[in-house]
């Protein structure tokens, strides 16, 4: 009895990420440090902090997402797994999707869970904490999928992390705009919450559907 290839891949990714230790905890610690630094720079103005808090959390989450992404396909490229996966029966697009889901589970999900705790440090109201958390839950998959495109394009470059960030950050701007406006709207009576939130969900779903094809095309080209 052998499990289906995709569930075996998911388990392998989670195991490898946990055993290396980096992945999730590193991202959360980086997230924490970014969120902690901001009040030092801005000063102890609680009103100001709670007003810009959602934006700070979103920017920190965006940078923390980028942190581990450069190894997403590079490790598989270096140890030869990527070549072998091409000889399997499973389409590369599905392999990419499963790898991204596993990556999000170990790096994106911990950020979402940590966001309400770290939001307290920025004097966020309960409604804003809820808004930030739910918008991160809806938006981080889009960040991960966009990042995967950058990771695939830089898979053969030794120090591709910076180039990847330069490629990915401009693409992430729409996600950031709608993410922050959904998070900010949660505790404001004047701006609607659902409109930016639904657009954010749409961005995540669209990248989930389209990015695997872009990533797989890039990987096929790079493996030559």
């Amino acid at each position: 009895m052998t499990p289906a290839p995709l569930s075996a891949l998911f388990l392998r990714e989670i195991r490898a990420a946990r055993r290396i230790g980096g992945g999730g905890t590193m991202g959360v610690v980086f997230f924490l440090i970014l969120v902690t630094i901001v009040p030092f720079a801005i000063g102890p103005d609680l009103n100001l902090l709670s007003r810009i808090g959602p934006a700070i959390l979103w920017i920190a989450a965006l940078l923390a997402t980028l942190l581990g992404l450069d190894r997403l396909f590079q490790a598989d490229h270096e140890d030869g797994s990527l070549d072998l996966m091409l000889t399997g029966d499973t389409p590369l697009e599905l392999i990419v999707l499963v790898k991204c889901l596993a990556h999000w589970t170990v790096t994106g999900l911990p950020l979402v869970v940590a966001a309400p705790l770290f939001g307290l440090m920025l004097a966020l109201e309960p409604e804003a904490l809820f808004g930030v958390t739910i918008s991160l839950l809806a938006g981080t998959p889009a960040l991960g999928m966009l990042g995967a495109i950058g990771a695939a394009l830089t898979v053969t470059l030794r120090r591709g992390g910076l180039l990847m960030a330069i490629l990915v950050l401009p693409l992430a701007i729409p996600v950031l705009i709608f993410g922050v406006s959904a998070a900010g709207a949660a505790n404001s009576a004047t701006t609607p919450f659902m409109t930016p939130f639904l657009i954010l969900c749409a961005l995540s779903l669209a990248t989930l559907a389209a990015a695997p094809f872009a990533v797989a095309a890039a990987l096929r080209h790079m493996s030559e």
């Binding site: 195991r15 490898a16 072998l84 091409l86």
Partner: protein, 220 residues
């Protein structure tokens, strides 16, 4: 290795290269290559460094699209989308995740590379025992020596039966006993009706056709 011989032999399989031309950057490394391998046949590719042995194997496995010509894999009378889908490819790196144990790596490749209709092959522990390294099953691959890593990579060929083996320098890092084991493995695979394409500098103890790359340069 008798348990492998008792297995049903592979169905009719052919690996055909016709007019295969491969390019690396702007260098033409393989030009107009034709061959036709059938069940139980092996092709050994030799040639000095940099004459395109690895490029040829990567082209056969489908990682490198040919500049001209084509590679066809025919399995049980049906044309496959590429020979790679029928093949085990063993390159310079074995495709093992350093953080995972040898057993976990092999389990993963077993489910990833199993071909429908060819059975499930040996279990990871059986394959490692056959390669003479049963003690490494529970160890992370990062802790293994180069020769042990190579044996774990070779164990992958036994856990998911695939008719075509594409081997790039399979003897690398193996000790004398390991080389004997590999030669026995190759003979068993041919006896079961498998196909082998191997690039090597050291001689392999199997009956095989020879392809010498770069000989034109020597002649000129």
């Amino acid at each position: 290795m008798t348990d492998r011989m008792e297995k049903a032999p592979f169905p009719e399989t052919r690996l055909i290269a016709s007019g295969l031309t491969l390019r690396r950057g702007d260098r033409l490394l393989v030009e107009g290559l034709d061959f036709d391998l059938a069940n139980g046949q092996a092709l050994i590719v030799t040639g000095p460094n940099g004459t395109g042995k690895s490029t040829l194997l990567r082209g056969l496995a489908g990682f490198l699209p040919p500049a001209r010509g084509r590679v066809r894999g025919i399995f049980a009378g049906e044309e496959e989308r590429g020979a790679g889908a029928l093949a085990h490819y063993l390159g310079h790196v074995e495709g093992s995740k350093p953080a995972l144990t040898a057993r976990e790596n092999l389990h993963f490749w077993q489910s990833m590379l199993a071909l429908p209709g060819l059975g499930s092959g040996l279990s990871p522990d059986e394959a490692l025992t056959q390669l003479g390294v049963p003690q490494v099953a529970g160890l992370p691959v990062a802790y293994l020596s180069a020769g042990q890593k190579r044996r774990v990579g070779l164990a992958r060929l036994l856990i998911a039966p695939r008719p075509i083996w594409i081997l790039d320098e399979p003897l690398t890092a193996l000790d004398a006993a390991g080389q004997d084991l590999l030669n026995a493995m190759l003979r068993d695979h041919l006896a079961a009706g498998g196909l082998i394409v191997a690039a090597t500098h050291a001689p392999l103890a199997i009956a095989a056709r020879q392809l010498s790359l770069g000989s034109r340069e020597v002649a000129a």
